[in-house]
């Protein structure tokens, strides 16, 4: 038998029919078979053919990842399954809305850090900001971490979206 294989993180892109129940099928597959989901995003991406794109970040041994992809591909409304992690270079982004409450020096510091992270202020009140920050997940993590000491009160994150580099479609 093969030696103990180590788990690694994979970003998987799944193109599906935009129909009721499809998300339940995908999520049910993960829970039913004991796979984990680190991040999940879904939205309609092709109006003409009525397709949605699901981006899943999961972790597992190579055998488990292979199994996850085969199981996803087996679902009838699934058009395509691509493992971006295996297929070479790809880009991943995540967006977060970060609400910070505070006055005085902390408020100024939050604004200054937001500038460093190229976060946009999308709502401002006399004692609060909502920042929009976009980037790779670790950048978003870092920004949120920094805000914790500066009056962080609320975070909403989209989860990861991803695509391959270069001129080819998924």
């Amino acid at each position: 038998m093969s030696p103990v294989e180590t788990a690694s993180r994979h970003t998987i892109s799944v193109l599906v029919d935009n129909e009721p129940g499809i998300l339940a099928r995908v999520v049910g597959l993960f829970s039913g078979r004991g796979y984990n989901i680190e991040s999940l995003t879904v939205a309609k991406t092709n109006e003409k053919e009525n397709l949605s794109r699901i981006t899943i970040v999961t972790a597992g041994t190579p055998m488990v990842i292979e199994q996850i992809k085969a199981q996803l591909d087996r679902l009838v409304p699934v058009h395509r399954v691509r493992d971006l992690t295996l297929e070479g270079e790809h880009v991943e982004r995540e967006l977060a809305l970060v609400k910070v409450k505070g006055t005085g020096e902390k408020r100024v510091e939050a604004l200054r850090l937001a500038d460093v992270f190229r976060a946009k202020v999308i709502d401002a009140k006399s004692d609060s900001f909502v920042f929009e920050v976009t980037g790779a997940s670790d950048k978003v993590d870092t920004f949120i971490g920094l805000m914790e000491g500066l009056g962080l009160i609320d975070v909403g994150r989209t989860g990861i979206v991803a695509t391959t580099r270069g001129g080819e479609a998924i």
């Binding site: 038998m1 093969s2 029919d17 129940g21 087996r74 679902l75 009838v76 058009h79």
Partner: protein, 589 residues
């Protein structure tokens, strides 16, 4: 014709679509939500409806029908409890890859989500136990959905498909849409033809093998009778030994000298040891189930593994293989035979002779031996005698689940595919009797026997009423040991003989029970009477229950305890003391 003139109700459209899909029989049970369909059925005479007594039995009957004919089995049940009762059957069909289309009623669309009377979230409940399911929200989608459902159910790796039908959809009107041929699904396209390069690589491995074994399963049977013929041809061409899984029995003739019997937990000594010691393992349509592999780290450790499967998710799921081939068994075998014949390979005769000599030595252990005395009937003896009397007749065997099922797999010989139906993956007690009804509907003149245990048969015993209604001469052959035998066996081997709740208290008098439903009941506990009783059972043209009182303490051997390796086999009652079952093994089922 104007659309308005030709427009028909959803229920009529449905019936029309079923007829176009060449459906002949529907197994079902009516209820409020499906009344429009029952009304449409009433007005026609192309589709035959078989009224079962419980929806679970409807699905098992459809499974029996499907497995014995190769066609899609069709089920019709009402909303709510009708659908939830069907869930066990659907799961069974999913695990064993049986093509089923199950039509479920649903409350009208405007009531969905209101906790209406007999409402259940059928698509939600059946999502994990079907290959696919549909909720039809508009009558305009109905005919197309039915055609698609049949395509999905029967193509690729077959499986159950549910179509949930709200009552208003069944009553609204629309034009009929005939099935389009050939079907081109927008996202679902199973791969049936194998990659030719992989076939060449497979033959490279096969021709160089010194200790090869074929390990084949239900995929060969699902591929159709042609696949079984090709399998026999290829196995004969190579001269290699072959073993079948429980689901694969019948794909290769059991009487053939190259056949090693079934493998796995209760498989033969020779089959399991051949798996352990082989150098090339050729898996066709079998999925390395835990009943087959035993301890994974010790499973066939020295072999190169070729795995042919139509379902890519079956590959590398439990066991890592060296050469996966995605494709339909018949197509793959056809290609393998073509390449083999073209190459005319010279195989290592000396090595093969030595390999066969080793196998014959294992076979010589006679692992299925048992001792029949004059007093009590051994269950193995009952099945050997049964087989003796039916072997020259057109017969089909179904089973329930437990010891009797394993003995049936060991002691009955299956010479052709589609004649053996048993619940392999899910292990559903109560499967065999309704499945036998479905087989009998498809083959009215054949001898159809449900080999049962007295515990399993109680799980769908209400179907005696169905066989009475349709005069189905199904034979129920009960090996009655007054215990849930397999539970009792495990309690004896693993739990210190504490027979917790496995004794079957208050069993009915099966002879009188048969009579109460207009069937015939026979009973014997005497070895010398057994032949006579079996002959009488065969002669009677009505349904029969045969209550065979067998040895209560007999265990099913050989046995690979859970978590043990193939070479760690218990061959008989004296074996167990030396090999205590590990704690790791105990947590496995």
């Amino acid at each position: 014709m104007k659309p308005e003139e030709s427009a028909t109700t959803g229920a009529d459209l449905l019936v029309k679509a079923l007829i176009d899909e060449e459906v002949e029989v529907v197994f079902g049970y009516p209820g409020g939500a499906v009344l429009p369909i029952y009304d449409s059925l009433f007005k026609q005479n192309r589709l035959r409806h078989i009224l079962v007594r419980h929806e679970q039995a409807a699905v098992h009957a459809a499974e029996g029908y499907a497995r014995s004919t190769g066609k899609v089995g069709v089920v019709l049940v009402t909303s709510g409890p009708g659908a939830t009762n069907a869930v066990t059957g659907l799961t069974d069909a999913l695990m064993d890859s049986i093509p089923i289309v199950c039509l479920t009623g649903q409350v009208p669309t405007h009531l969905i989500g209101n906790d209406a009377f007999q409402e259940a979230d059928t698509t939600g409940i059946t999502r994990p136990c079907t290959k696919h399911n549909y909720l039809v929200k508009a009558v305009g989608d109905l005919a197309r959905t039915v055609h698609e459902a049949f395509y999905v159910a029967r193509s690729g790796r077959p499986g159950p498909v549910v179509i949930d039908l709200p009552k208003d959809v069944l009553m609204n009107k629309h034009d009929y849409e005939a099935p389009k041929k050939p079907v081109q699904h927008k996202s679902y396209r199973p791969q049936v033809k194998p990659d030719p390069k992989k076939i060449e690589q497979a033959i490279d491995l096969i021709q160089a093998a010194k200790r090869p074994v074929f390990y084949t399963g239900g995929g060969v049977i699902n591929s159709g009778p042609k696949a079984s013929k090709l399998l026999a041809q290829f196995v004969h061409l190579t001269g290699f030994p072959i073993t079948n899984t429980l689901m694969g029995l019948g794909a290769f003739p059991a009487s053939d000298k190259q056949f090693l019997g079934m493998l796995g937990m209760h498989g033969t000594y020779e089959a399991n040891l051949a798996m352990y010691h082989c150098d090339v393992l050729i898996d066709i349509g079998a999925r390395f189930d835990d009943r087959i592999t035993g301890k994974l780290s010790e499973f066939s450790p020295k072999s190169k593994k070729i795995h042919v499967d139509i379902d890519p998710s079956s590959i590398n799921k439990n066991v890592r293989v060296d050469l996966p081939i995605v494709g339909d068994a018949a197509h793959v075998l056809e290609e393998m035979i073509r390449v083999w014949k073209a190459r005319q390979p010279r195989i290592d005769q000396k090595a093969h002779k030595a390999w066969w000599a080793e196998i014959e030595k294992w076979r010589g252990r006679n692992c299925l031996a048992y001792k029949q005395d004059k007093e009590t009937i051994k269950p193995q003896f009952a099945l050997e005698r049964l087989y003796h009397h039916i072997k020259d007749r057109d017969h089909y065997i179904t089973t329930e689940v437990g010891q009797h099922q394993m003995w049936a797999a060991q002691f009955l010989k299956f010479e052709q595919p589609n004649h053996w139906m048993t619940s392999g993956g899910l292990g559903t007690m109560g499967y065999g009797f309704p499945a036998a009804m479905g087989v009998q509907i498809a083959h009215p003149d054949a001898l159809v026997i449900d080999v049962a245990g007295e515990a399993s048969i109680m799980m769908n015993i209400q179907e005696l009423s169905t066989v009475a209604q349709y005069r189905l001469p199904v034979k129920i052959f009960i090996l009655n040991n007054q215990y849930m035998g397999m539970v009792r066996q495990w309690q004896e081997l693993l739990h210190g003989g504490r027979y917790s709740e496995s004794y079957m208290e208050s069993l009915p008098d099966f002879v009188k029970l048969a009579e109460a439903f207009g069937a015939v009941g026979l009973r014997t506990g005497n070895p010398s009477e057994l032949d006579g009783v079996i002959q009488e059972m065969i002669k009677i043209t009505k349904p029969v229950i045969v209550d065979v009182l067998v040895d209560k303490a007999e265990n099913c051997f050989p046995m690979i305890p859970s978590g043990a390796a193939h070479y760690d086999m218990l061959l008989g009652p004296n074996d167990r003391a030396e090999k205590p079952i590990s704690e790791e093994g105990m947590v496995l089922v």
